[in-house]
């Protein structure tokens, strides 16, 4: 049984201009100790998906439906007080911006201790020693002396380490990381990714990694969910998505990467930009940017179906499977051959 099973998650925001369908019927599951990557461009609903699971969306003007079964409970049905017990202990979250997600007027030590003491019976001293232990685990030098420092005394990479320490301090079963390395430089990103990998091995947490960077996905993910305009376009194991992708949007994402067009080749970007979620296109939401669009694409939403009988690789596209597979081989074969 998966650790987290999300079924048909829908998050709509009511605004003055109409209903924004930020997430529209997304399903996925995360296994214990595994990493699920949610990929997509800005505004595709990947962050809203995580916020909905955590119950962090504003209550006013938000409609959430579907199920998110985590340890036999439906997170979407829990009351705020119950959710508060789950957050930070069983599920914790790392946000994108390490500059704004720590409280600037509290010491690192106070913030780490708070996380421990809210969810257990420990004394301040026990909480402090746990905090030091975690800061050591995320390789912060001289951890003992840094508890009394404020966030501004840490660099960006160090702050993200503190965030990770805080997220893992209660040994959560699930860690949701929303663009954890996007604000960081590549060398710092490499440090943080390596660290997350090691911690996952040591603590056995499952990770939902939200990112737009397919390179990061290739390094860390077990399963991948590709989202477009609030819907799942494609889902599968990492090898399915990188070597046998079947959705034209996934092809477009890969074709936009300079790394995959190294030898003087032109990039093959997706034309246009993502649609407004106030009035998404009828049928397949990608069809207006898709070079394979047919009449049926505007009339009917493609269902998210297995690419073959019994396969765990799912794709939502009306293209004929044989044709899709041939295109995938043609496009992706070329690109992947260029990578070293």
């Amino acid at each position: 049984m998966p650790l987290l099973d999300v079924r048909d998650l829908t998050t709509h925001f009511r605004t003055e201009d109409g209903v924004v369908r930020a997430v529209d019927g997304v399903s996925f599951s995360v296994e214990k100790g595994k990493t699920l990557a949610i990929v997509g461009e800005s505004g595709c609903g990947k962050s809203v998906t995580c916020m909905s699971i955590m119950g962090l969306n504003p209550r006013v003007n938000t409609e959430i439906s579907g199920e998110a079964i985590f340890n036999d409970r439906d997170l979407l049905k829990l009351r705020q007080s119950e959710l508060r017990k789950v957050r930070g202990s069983e599920i914790s979250m790392i946000f994108q911006d390490p500059m704004t997600s720590l409280n600037p007027v509290q010491t690192i030590g106070a913030q780490l201790r708070e996380a421990v003491m809210l969810h257990g019976q420990s004394t301040k001293r026990q909480a402090s020693s746990r905090a030091i232990e975690m800061l050591k685990a995320v390789s912060i030098p001289r951890a003992e002396t840094r508890l009394d420092d404020y966030p501004h005394q840490f660099s960006g990479g160090m702050r993200q380490r503190v965030m990770i320490a805080m997220a893992l301090i209660n040994n959560p079963d699930l860690l949701i990381a929303d663009e954890p390395t996007t604000a960081l430089d590549v060398t710092t990103q490499a440090q943080i990714l390596k660290l997350m990998n090691e911690l996952q091995r040591d603590f056995g947490s499952a990770i939902i990694l939200v990112t737009h960077d397919l390179g990061v996905v290739a390094e860390t993910a077990d399963e991948v969910l590709v989202m477009y305009a609030g819907k799942a376009a494609e889902r599968g194991g990492y090898a399915d998505i990188f070597y046998r992708p079947e959705h034209p949007y996934t092809w477009g994402l890969l074709g936009s990467l300079p790394r995959l067009a190294q030898h003087g080749g032109e990039l093959r970007p997706i034309p246009g930009s993502p649609p407004s979620l106030l009035r998404p296109p009828s049928g397949c939401r990608f069809r207006v940017r898709c070079s394979y669009a047919m009449d049926v694409c505007g009339a009917e939403q493609p269902p998210l179906d297995p690419v073959a009988e019994g396969s765990s690789h799912l794709v939502a596209c009306h293209l004929e499977p044989g044709h899709r597979r041939a295109e995938s081989e043609r496009l992706v074969g070329e690109m992947m051959a260029e990578v070293r």
Binding site: E41, S42, S155, G157, M158, D185, V186, T187, T188, Q189, A190, Q191, L193, K194, H212, D213, L214, G215, V216, V217, A218, E219, Y238, A239, F242, Y243, G252, L253, L254, G255, S256, L257, P258, R259, L260, A261, Q262, E266, L267, R268, P269, I270, P271, S273, P274, M336, V339, R340
Partner: protein, 344 residues
């Protein structure tokens, strides 16, 4: 060799740190750019990479003369522009343009697109109002926007479209050199690819020269002919794109290259990136001699901290500033840190 379009010698930009209100006393300096030299040939793209705070944007602003350099010399098109003022500077500015990073902040929200793109034409008095309008509409078409959108405001456009407006503005007065400061880093990957293709096409059509600054090494490689790697206010390595990416010589370039996530799972999972310890030191008090020595796995006491390595040509067209350049590539963690051998 033909005369380069842009030649920068030993450029320095220091920002003073002062104390006191009435009598300001200088108590230190941020050495943002600390002796940078390079040249850019006509029609070439020079890529500049480095992490945040390495001085690449400050360097660009000095070249544009938006900041006054503390020291050094900037030669543009055979003319020394380092200390130009007034009308002379204005004349040079006609040939130098810039595309900025943030397409949301770099367009005046209260001006219509036509006014934004046409502003430089007006300032430099390039034709009557009607002529300017025609030219602007032509430019909008060139960058892939609808000329009918002349009267719209920036907020009506998406990020990618705004960056196209920024490019149209830079093209308006037919500059010789365009400095692009992280032009695609705020954009989604599919839109980023559109803008990169656009910049490449325009370079061919209008014979442009680019200085292209970015922190994304894959992007820089894709667009550049030559690439300079900056670390803490200095250029540590400079070579042609393929040379630098296939045979980096400086340990910092090596670490940077090995840290880029590769979008191919088998390759990504097989390799062992060189993970640098610690953070970039402050440019207020950079380490003595080689600025990279505090994080360098090849640090050699008594040499790297005393004797500053100069940017010298090791292989034809490949310059590096290091006492112990890498012998081969790719390197593993282990070999990277191995006892370095001094090469003459």
């Amino acid at each position: 060799m033909a005369e380069p379009l842009l030649r920068v010698d030993d450029l320095e930009k220091h920002f003073p740190i002062t104390r006191g209100i009435v009598f300001q006393k200088e108590i230190g300096r941020v050495r943002a750019v600390d002796g940078v030299s390079f040249e850019v040939a006509r029609g070439e793209t020079l890529g500049v990479v480095g992490e945040s705070g390495c001085g690449k944007s400050t360097m660009a602003r000095c070249v544009m003369r938006l900041l006054d350099p503390t020291g050094g010399r900037i030669m543009f098109d055979g003319q020394d522009i380092t200390r130009l003022k007034g009308h002379d500077l204005m004349r040079v500015r006609r040939e130098l343009m810039m595309v900025f990073q943030d397409p949301y902040a770099s367009l005046n929200p209260r001006l219509r697109v036509g006014a934004i793109v046409g502003e430089a034409l007006q300032v430099h008095k390039q034709g009557s109002a009607a002529e300017i309008k025609m030219r602007v509409q032509e430019l909008l078409e060139v960058v892939g926007l609808n000329p009918e959108h002349y009267n719209r405001y920036p907020h009506e456009f998406s990020g990618g479209q705004r960056q196209r407006i920024g490019v149209a503005r830079a093209l308006a007065i037919r500059p010789k050199l365009i400095v692009c400061d992280e032009p695609v880093s705020a954009l989604d990957v599919s839109v980023q690819a559109q803008i990169l293709n656009l910049l490449k096409r325009l370079q061919r059509e209008f014979d442009l020269t680019y200085v292209f600054i970015a922190h994304d090494l894959d992007v820089v490689r894709h667009i550049s002919d030559r690439v300079a790697v900056m670390y803490l206010g200095k250029i540590v390595e400079m070579a042609s794109g393929s040379e630098l990416y296939d045979h980096p010589l400086h340990p910092y370039s090596g670490a940077l290259l090995s840290a880029i996530p590769v979008p191919n799972p088998d390759v990504a999972r097989a390799r062992r990136p060189i993970v640098l310890e610690g953070d970039v030191p402050s440019p207020i008090n950079p380490p003595s001699a080689c600025h990279f020595r505090t994080r360098c796995p090849r640090f050699h006491e008594g040499l790297c901290d005393v004797d500053e390595p100069q940017l010298v040509e090791r292989d034809p067209g490949h310059r590096v500033a290091c006492h112990f350049p890498l012998e081969s590539w790719p390197l593993t963690d282990l070999r990277m840190g191995a006892e370095p051998v001094k090469t003459p």
